[in-house]
């Protein structure tokens, strides 16, 4: 199970990577993609919206199941990853093949970066999923 040490994690299996200042990328973990199986569609209908921590920002459709996506921290959804979007590359399997890289889901502008300290580090997340 791949759990990079430089990311923060939620109990709902999202990860956050802080890029610079208040900008961050959000995706789902290797564990999550493996549990979901073949991902066929990602619906993010909150681009441009300001959301609170734990709000639903989108939905992942796998063949067998549907899973909501939750904001790990409060912020504005700036964009959805074009490579996985229906209107862009339309290749949601990138989340299966590269969940922490090419398969990132949204870029956000954090409105309360202090919330990052509530999230799990790699060690704590590892303990959660093992």
């Amino acid at each position: 199970m791949n759990i990079p040490s430089d990311l923060k994690y939620t109990k709902d299996h999202e990860w956050v990577r802080v890029e610079n200042g208040d900008i961050a990328y959000v995706g789902i973990t290797d564990f999550a993609q493996s549990e979901l199986g073949d991902i066929v569609y990602v619906d993010v209908d909150t681009v441009g919206e300001e959301l609170n921590q734990h709000d639903v920002f989108g939905t992942v459709e796998a063949v067998k199941t549907t899973s909501d996506l939750f904001m790990p921290v409060s912020g504005k959804v700036l964009e959805m990853n074009e490579a996985i979007s229906e209107d862009g590359g339309d290749d949601p399997t990138l989340i299966n093949s590269d969940p922490y890289g090419e398969g990132w889901i949204v870029k956000i502008q954090m409105t309360n970066p202090g919330e990052l300290s509530e999230l799990l580090d790699a060690g704590a997340y590892q303990a959660l999923v093992s």
Binding site: G37, D38, V40, Y41, D43, T59, E61, A62, V63, K64, T65, T66, E86
Partner: protein, 369 residues
Amino acid sequence: MKNTPLTEKHIALGAKMAEFAGYNMPISYTGIREEHQCVRTGVGVFDVSHMGEFIAKGKEALDLVQKVTSNDASRLNIGDAQYSCLPNHNGGIVDDLLVYRLPEDKCAEGEQAFMLVVNAANIEKDWNWINRENTFDARLTDISEETGLLAVQGPKATDALQSLTDLDLKNMKYYTFGKGTFAGAENVLISATGYTGSGGFEIYARNEDIVKIWDAIFEAGKDYGIQPIGLGARDTLRLEMGYALYGNDIDDTTSPLEAGLGWITKLKKGDFNSSDIFKKQKEEGLKRRLVGFFMDERRVPRHDYPILNESGESIGKVTSGTHAPSLDKPIGMGYVKTEFAKPGTKILIEFGRKQLPATVTKLPFYKPE
């Protein structure tokens, strides 16, 4: 949780396992889409040993089967199988099942024998039900615990299996079966049946022979790209064909006529459980129908999502939904009021706070070559 004779094999193969009907079963091995494609274009093997098998034997075994099932078992010759259902007394369905008319070599003079193959989740319920209904000269035996079942499905199934048996698989007609030696195991029943729409066979054998048979099938099928297939792909394959799944699309409250199973509800065969109710439904018309629909968008409908008409009024519920791997789009089935059941009708599916358009379509969703 119970194991099948193959549970350890599945775990060793790296399968994602989950509890299903009290058994520890493989959900997928390499991924549902890949396994689905393997069955549609090649050949795949499912361990479905969790399913239940009952034997009904006796001078009035046919009378019992005729009373408890909706299809006409009197049409079965020895070596024939039939899809059927067990109606309850209120016009609903206790279970759906396969009925096999068995050879009579172990029967006394004047006796007939049938094998009833039922869903794993319903074994106890069905057993109690059929016994309660058995007022005939018929003896029932539950052989579920000692019987294993493999489904070998796909267009290359015949080629992959023929070297393992003297039975002529190529000329075995759909919904017939033979008994013989298979991979060195004796008294194996092989039927040209399945739940995928891609052709193939189902192989019933004693538990102690199942591992040997599984290994022999993979050895013989090597050149045909044979793969193990989990319950995840079993669901996508059956749903593309519009086959009902008990507990989702049919249950104790749904009539076989509403479910599109009129073709296995033989009202002319004589009285059987709920036949009066079904006759009345047929005369008066059905209030709701099980239909298939394509989503006009990409979200995938799931069990219990509400179905609405174009004005947003509730007209039914989704019973099954998935992303269809062969079509690469979402499909679903559900009950709607009869006036919305015509192919081409526009409906809405409610996804939480969103209502997304869908179109009623004829079944099957997909026709394998």
